[in-house]
Amino acid sequence: MDLDAKAAAPDKPLAEPAPVTLPEILKRPDIAERFAQVRKYFYLRESTYDMTRRCNLRCDGCYYYEGDKQNTQDNVDPAAWRTLFQAEKARGITFVVLAGAEPALVPELLAACYEEIPLGAIASNGLVRIPASVGYRIHISVWGDDRTSERVRRAKRMLERQIEIYQGDARAIFVYTFTRENIAEAHGVVERLARNGCKVTFNVFSATVGYHGPLRHTPATLAQTRATMLSLLEAYPEEVVFSRYNAAAHTDTLSLHDLYSCPYPRQNRGQFGLGRTFRQYRSDLTWIREAACCVPDTDCADCRHYAAGSAIVTARMNRHIASADQFRAWLDYVDTYLAVWVQGYGKHPNLGTVPISPSLALQTSR
């Protein structure tokens, strides 16, 4: 199958009559079954937490060391974190994302958080093993092959060391970030991860505000990225946790915000959904509503970040009921989101069989 051509082709006419309401769409058994599976997780309410200013790496394009969130004092008291998480639980937070700069450097804080809110994920560079007692999902960032990592992240044998540490660990999923420069390397990296039994999903580099460096995508590299994602999804269906619609949504020339309207407080000043509940805490346990989003300091006009999409696309169910195929695409996206972020949720086979353009969701918002 020529995936490149298929990815670039316009949406085909649907084979079945186009329903227009959710009840009609849910009459299809495959859709009803998957909707019931993912709906069990609608209760997840997320917030994110920078755990420490410290990191063992200094990577080009790092989100954490952009902006002023690094200019703070770490709170290193596990009791203080425990108190914060008790308060978070009380206000309805059920899912936590522990990020910047490198959470693996503060395992005692991770343990305290896990004891209070046991559903969540940790963003790590994967070079320091997180204790097995911390049962969160672990996202291990991969920015290319070892040569590229040495240049961009100044770490030798990075992928080799990451695999050594996390091979066979059910908590771990590797996150390959496509930049403008590393698209061709993805085949080799994913092949190596798959050969070692590691799960992998994809991210797309999203520039921070003011960044115009060599990692920023162009329309041409976004198209190349999409074709590569689809090729890898087909080649490694067991190891690559992704869907056709994920690839389309994250490589469109429009950003996620422009396509779907970001619901995070930074763009959504309303008191509904994430606009009401989401907070992004710094490592001193303070938060600022105006700055709150999943990847602060990202240029919203360039945002294609996988973490952002996990909330932005999933929240827009109402924009995906123009047809059964469009809803299947959305279900594949939500299924992927759960498999990537929720420990113990296994990816189901994707339902979507035809390309669905993200711009359809933009049209149905009007």
Binding site: T21, L22, F42, F272, A315, M317, N318
Partner: protein, 81 residues
């Protein structure tokens, strides 16, 4: 209409200890019942099918009570007709 909306809410969200007849149409669905935005979106999409109207996404945050939902549906129906 309010009774039917309450019935759909109870059915879709599997609410317990309440019936369509006892459902207070002024109960705040988000603040008092803790209904998540995704569940509210599901209910809205079911109601769209039931009443053949299309809610503007921007109005979702205001759909916090059965009465508010019913008023919105009536307004949409009057606009259509």
């Amino acid at each position: 209409m309010e009774r039917r909306i309450a019935e759909i809410l109870i059915q879709e969200l599997k609410l317990e200890n309440v019936t369509p007849d006892t459902f207070d149409v002024n109960t705040d669905l988000v603040k008092e019942l803790g209904i998540d935005s995704m569940d509210l979106t599901t209910v809205v999409l079911v109601l769209q099918g039931e009443y053949k109207v299309k809610f503007d996404e921007d109005t979702y945050p205001s759909l916090t009570t059965v009465r508010a939902i019913a008023d919105q549906i009536r307004q949409l129906q009057s606009t259509v007709s």
